[in-house]
């Protein structure tokens, strides 16, 4: 689409250019294993959805390098304002597959208390992984407010806001980038251009020459990077983060990649994605590409991969079993957290819900007394 070529680090032969990729061997392996865990989580969720165990999932195949490369450039004291397709960012930073799985099941141990659809994660520990919202783009400008707070308190932290190509058409993109530019806020805007917004291809999303060029409209640097090259994404995000920590303001990064699956488990991409395009991108698989690099560095063997993948699968399986064994959220979770304190009218409505549930012998009602 764009005339400019995206930045890369991993060369066709697997060599890195520059050689110093800014990540230790340990970190490189952690990044790689995280990608395997994303795949394991992704594939498991697709299966769970097909078998009716969970209601919905969002395929992550194809975009793992973008997520993990970006996450690897951040510290635990930074904040993430992620999208629903960011399994890798959570896993990289130590959010457990089990915590995520409780969300997929919407059970009593889900940190969002079963209120949101699957993949709408929300975590505060070990990194601030901000509560995901369905409305596209709203979080982009919120991220700028969070970054302003860091700037105001003179902290050296940054915020990463992650969104899709479709997200660039949203209101939050426009106001977010505009405010960030004026405020020189320490925020990195990561546009994961996976070429599709559900069924809408990029050429119907915008007439601009890619997405990185949109940075100029907001007076900030725009960087186009190969999103299937974990190290290139890491490099671009690291540079942007360093600039932001030093007071240099925001950056827009476009990571060009491809969504190999459907938009979600409700979507049939064969209706609109040209087969040739899928075949083309299949060859650019981000995991295989990173393996080539690792192999050249002697950090990878096929056997090692199998072991790691088996471990990832075991972890995800255990997570899924744990979630499955967890009951539904308690009935009072319908009424709590609307406000810090339960107002009188919600106490009345809650009691009503308990009365009905009790009358009909539904387990959630316990003794029928509203507990809040």
């Amino acid at each position: 689409m764009t005339s400019t070529a995206p930045r890369t680090v991993i060369q066709p032969d697997g060599a890195a250019k520059p050689r110093d990729v800014g990540l230790s061997d340990k970190e490189l392996i952690h990044a790689y294993r995280t990608m395997l865990r994303v795949r394991a989580f992704d594939e498991t969720c697709l299966k769970l959805q097909r078998s009716g165990r969970i209601g919905f999932s969002i395929p992550n195949r194809g975009v793992e390098a973008t997520q993990v490369g970006a996450a690897a450039a951040l510290k635990k004291t930074d904040w993430l304002f992620p999208s629903y397709r960011d399994f890798g960012m959570a896993l990289y930073h130590g959010i457990s597959a089990e915590a995520m799985m409780h969300n997929m099941y919407g059970d009593a141990l889900d940190s969002a208390k079963g209120r949101q659809m699957p993949v709408h994660f929300s975590f505060t520990d070990p990194i601030r992984f901000f509560s995901i919202s369905s409305p596209i783009g709203t979080h982009i400008v919120q991220a700028v407010g969070a970054a302003y707070a860091m700037q105001y308190r003179k902290e050296k932290h940054v915020v990463l806001a992650s969104f899709g190509d479709g997200g660039t058409s949203s209101l939050g993109f426009h106001s977010g980038l505009n405010f960030a530019g004026v405020w020189k806020a320490p925020v990195i805007f990561l546009c994961q251009n996976n070429q599709w917004a559900i069924s809408c291809p990029s050429e119907k999303q915008t007439a601009s020459d890619g997405y990185a060029v949109k940075a100029e409209a907001y007076g900030m640097p725009g960087v186009l990077v190969d999103g299937n090259d974990l190290l290139a994404v890491h490099q671009a995000v690291s540079e942007a983060a360093e600039r932001a920590r030093k007071g240099g303001g925001p950056t827009l990064i476009e990571a060009r990649t491809f969504r190999m699956g459907g938009h979600s488990t409700s979507d049939d991409p064969t209706k609109y994605v040209p087969k040739a395009m899928v075949a083309e991108w299949e060859k650019k698989d981000p995991v295989a590409r990173f393996e080539k690099f690792l192999k050249k560095r002697k950090l990878w063997t096929e056997k090692q991969r199998e072991q790691w993948y088996a471990e990832a699968m075991a972890e995800v399986d255990a997570a899924s079993k744990a979630a499955q064994a967890t009951p539904r959220p308690a009935l009072e979770t319908i009424f709590s957290d609307v406000y810090a304190t339960l107002p009188a009218h919600l106490r009345r409505q809650g009691q009503q819900a308990f009365d009905i549930a009790k009358r009909h012998g539904e387990a959630e009602a316990g003794d029928g007394a509203f507990p809040l």
Binding site: R115, P135, I198, C200, T206, E364
Partner: protein, 324 residues
């Protein structure tokens, strides 16, 4: 007459309108080759070309704003908002612009357009794929708000909306998309936008409802009948401007009223119905005017079956007012 689901009736209405009037355009997110996430627009790009049924960028503000400009300049846009929950970025365009254009321009500029959008719960969609926002729009003079509950009405009301000279918000109960079927006439016909539909006659309790709550109320009424309570059910169909006389008439019949909707109660649409009755015909009323609604919380996910009004809650209310 064919037997169609509600979503098929919507599709049929769009196809009929596009056939009859070359100025009718359909657009929104994923309505083109994909045919819409619920398949409301399936086949339309193929049949009418991509100048007439097409995908837009991901901006509801853009979809509605552009639709206004098209309508002002002679086209008949029928815009889709993928879920009603995602209409809020377009709220300014709807409330400040579409609704007020005829008025503020002294009638010089008008925008006959339709915004279709699926609303309501029942698909485990959580906070953002389940909401019922009708009250936001029914407080906005200049708009019309329409909600079908049967395939027949879905087609006839949508065709009437497309032919209407004013902007219409057409809310489709997604819970009924495939769960109700009914006979739908072929070709063009309209259902009047200013009269409610009597679903069932009865002398004991009047039940006022619309959209996805209509079958819920019907089931509750069937159970009430077993207990000797005869319900009079009306389906409002056009929520705004409302057939006020029809509502008051129905309420007078029994003097006992239950109003039902999925949206949160506080400042919800049901409040207006109660208020109308309490203001105009209180002398006929023999019991509290009951409301059965969603709770005053965001829409939950796993526990949505406890959140949404169901036939048990409607029946409770019917018995309560009947016994009063």
């Amino acid at each position: 007459m064919a037997t169609l689901t509600l979503i098929q009736a919507v599709n049929d209405a769009l196809r009929t309108a596009m056939k009859n009037d070359p100025n009718v355009l359909v657009f929104g997110e994923d309505v083109g080759p994909k045919g819409g996430v619920f398949l409301a627009t399936e086949g339309l790009t193929k049949e009418f070309g991509e100048k007439r049924c097409f995908d837009t960028p991901l901006s509801e503000d853009g979809i509605v704003g552009a639709a206004i400009g098209m309508a002002v300049n002679g086209l008949k846009p029928v815009a889709e908002i993928q879920f009603q929950d995602f209409i809020f970025p377009a709220f300014d365009q709807i409330v400040s612009e579409a609704a007020k254009l005829r008025y503020r321009s002294g009638g010089q500029y008008t925008c006959p357009m339709v915004i279709r959008t699926p609303y309501g719960g029942g698909i485990r969609g959580g906070l953002y794929h389940s909401q019922s926002g009708e009250a936001y729009f029914c407080h906005t003079p200049g708009l019309k708000v329409v909600v079908p509950s049967t395939p027949h009405d879905a087609k006839g009301l949508l065709l009437a909306s497309i032919q209407d000279p004013d902007p219409v918000l057409f809310l489709e109960p997604k819970a009924l998309y495939r769960s109700v079927k009914g006979e739908v006439p072929e070709g063009n016909y309209t259902v009047d936008l200013s009269t409610l539909r009597t679903v069932r006659e009865g002398k004991d309790v009047t039940v006022i409802c619309y959209g996805a709550m209509v079958p819920v109320c019907e089931r509750a009424a069937a159970r009430a009948a077993e207990r000797g309570i005869e319900c009079h059910i009306v389906d409002l169909r056009t929520l705004y401007p409302l057939d006020e006389d029809g509502v008051l008439e129905a309420a007078k019949r029994t003097g006992r009223v239950v109003v039902v909707h999925e949206a949160p109660r506080f400042c919800g649409y049901g409040g207006e119905i109660s208020a109308l009755i309490a203001e105009n015909i209180i002398e006929y009323i023999e019991a509290p005017i009951a409301r059965v609604t969603g709770f005053d919380t965001p829409f939950p996910n796993t526990l949505e079956h406890h959140y949404m009004p169901d036939e048990r809650r409607v029946l409770d209310a019917i018995e309560h007012v009947a016994a009063y």
